[in-house]
């Protein structure tokens, strides 16, 4: 064993205050430690939860992360900004467009070209991001149904999501991990006929949301499983850094598309749904679910407005080049910048520390919304039933690719 190894295993700095081990050592006679995951479908990926239970009651939840850790930040330090975009796709792999949009916005802002991006490019970005947001929320809703025991919504959501996947594949050439949004522009313009097919989808999809709404939102069994369960008060949500639908379901109108007004969102009309506690208390599982359903409708509105612009005044022209502003080499001066954007799951942030005259960053830190959202789970599920823990975890809507990065 090397000297370094002895230090890290021996103490002083391997963590002096270890609440977890103290808790597990102090386990009572009536208590039992149960492992949930990492291979359990209701943990939505490779998440391991250690539960201290007393009968059916959960006394303590100890999450163990890292099963999907792929060293995103270390990778980002070894290659240039353009090459990192495919890696960002793999963080929240259900919303790859949104990830790369946030990353690209940060680099463009540092380059100072963010105001010069053509309107058509910006509208295409918003269009594909919102389509991806719908797809992500459809998965959240569908798998949530399955967590609770409703199978049909899952099939319906996946059926509709498939249309979006096909469209985005048509645009980018890949089904889930697109690498479509580039620093300074796009990989390609939209394929010919995309706007029409997208409009067709919007017309088809509108009634389907209502169907889905009837099937799940007003379902008595669903309500009794989710209303008044996992109530997250607004102050706790803020303190734990929750963002996105988690925070909005607790009644806080906080949407970075409005607050920061990035890209062309200021030109677009949409509402910000918040939890109202219609079925129980504000901030319960039902509210979180409902906020996502409402956000799908708002995203459809945004898609419609973007299509309107893209089909008329921002029509494709023969000489339009979406790569016109793509820099050959991203030459930055030494600076640091934190960019944040509203992802389907919440605030996605990238903190860049750049090096002088180099296109390789010194440090990139990714702040995944799922990471902070998940950190509230132990506080939220103290003293609940095991079955309710599943309902709470599902309502947080985590993607482990982003928690572990």
């Amino acid at each position: 064993m090397t000297a370094a190894a002895q230090v890290s295993v021996d103490k002083p700095y391997q963590g002096a205050q270890r609440a977890l081990e103290a808790r597990l050592a102090a386990i009572g006679a009536e208590e039992m430690v149960i492992n949930m995951g990492p291979q359990h479908p209701s943990t939505h990926g490779v998440l391991r939860l250690q539960l201290v239970t007393d009968g059916e009651l959960v006394k303590e939840v100890i999450p163990h992360l890292g099963y999907l850790h792929r060293c995103f930040e270390k990778h980002a330090e070894s290659m240039n900004y353009g090459k990192t975009i495919p890696f960002t796709d793999r963080m929240d792999y259900l919303a790859s467009m949104n990830n790369s949009h946030a990353f690209v916005m940060g680099v463009e802002r540092m380059l100072g070209i963010d105001q010069r991006i053509p309107k058509r490019v910006e509208y295409i970005r918003v269009l594909v991001c919102e389509l991806n947001r719908i797809a992500s929320h459809l998965i959240a809703i569908g798998t949530y149904g399955i967590d609770i025991g409703a199978f049909t919504p899952f099939m319906w959501c996946f059926r509709d999501r498939e249309h979006i996947m096909n469209m985005l594949e048509w645009a980018s050439g890949s089904r889930m991990l697109y690498n479509y949004i580039w620093v300074g522009g796009l990989f390609y313009d939209l394929p010919v006929g995309f706007e029409d097919r997208c409009l067709e989808f919007v017309r088809y999809f509108g009634p389907k949301i209502d169907e889905l709404d009837e099937l799940l939102t007003q379902n008595r069994i669903f309500i009794s499983r989710t209303a008044n369960i996992g109530v997250l008060p607004a102050d706790v949500a803020i303190n734990y850094g929750c963002s996105g639908p988690m925070l909005r379901a607790s009644g806080i109108k906080w949407d970075l598309r409005r607050i920061d007004g990035y890209s062309v969102y200021p030109e677009i009309e949409f509402d910000i749904p918040v939890g109202k506690g219609e079925m129980g208390k504000v901030g319960d599982c039902w509210d979180r679910f409902k906020v996502r359903v409402d956000e799908i409708r708002e995203s459809v509105r945004i898609v419609e407005q973007s299509l309107q612009r893209l089909r008329h005044d921002l029509k494709r022209t023969a000489d339009f080049d979406p790569r016109a502003l793509v820099p050959k080499k991203v030459n930055l001066k030494a600076q640091d910048y934190y960019v944040r954007a509203e992802n389907p799951k919440g605030e996605l942030g990238f903190y860049f520390v750049t090096q002088e005259k180099s296109d390789i960053p010194k440090r990139v830190k990714a702040r995944g919304p799922s990471f902070s959202n998940l950190s509230v789970l132990p506080a939220l599920s103290r003293g609940v039933l095991i079955a309710d823990l599943i309902a709470i975890l599902g309502s947080i809507d985590i993607v482990l690719g982003e928690v572990d990065r």
Binding site: A4, V7, V9, G15, A19, G66, Y240, G241, K365, A379
Partner: protein
């Protein structure tokens, strides 16, 4: 776009509360203004910024640990704060001098008692960069296995040749 609160006003408030030492330096030049604060005053500063009615930074967006490189002899920890009622943002930086020996980790007081979200962020900084947060309630590795050796995001990190007897190179 992003609304940054008048940084001079924040400095003024901090200096009234904690004296001349409260702000080491201020960065105005970059895209986002930042304040360098001393490590020993960090929890008080954060609590003050969180609770004061003019600043009210109730949301810790991000906590990043930065290795300034083997030559620099320092680590920087960066706190990105946001205020939900006011909508403004602030960047706090703390520079810690350190000789990079593994038995002498750079140490900072924890702010997990100010924002609970710092709990996991600090664990991540400890796990990947080896920053020790004094007073943290449960400082364990979070992403890497408990028996991992070294701190991979450091610039001078050397990967081990084997892990549990398995060749990984």
């Amino acid at each position: 776009m992003q609304r940054a609160m008048e940084i001079t006003r924040i400095i003024e408030l901090l200096e009234t509360a904690f004296g001349n030492r409260a702000v080491v330096a201020a960065e105005h030049a970059g895209l986002q203004p930042a304040l360098l604060v001393p490590a020993d005053l960090l929890p008080q500063t954060c609590l003050f910024l969180r609770d004061h009615e003019e600043t009210y930074f109730d949301f810790l967006s991000c906590l990043s640990a930065v290795d300034d490189g083997p030559g620099a002899g320092t680590f920087t920890v960066v706190y990105h704060l946001a205020s939900i009622p006011h909508g403004h943002q602030l960047t706090l930086k703390v520079v810690i001098e350190n000789d990079r020996r593994l038995e002498n980790l750079p140490t900072l007081p924890s702010v997990a008692s100010v924002w609970r979200t710092a709990d996991w962020h600090e664990r991540e900084a400890f796990d990947l960069m080896g920053i020790y947060f004094d007073g943290h309630p449960d400082l364990r590795r979070i992403l890497l296995p408990d028996d991992w050796e070294g701190y991979p995001l450091r610039k001078d990190y050397q990967e081990a040749a084997t892990y549990h007897g398995i060749a990984i190179k």
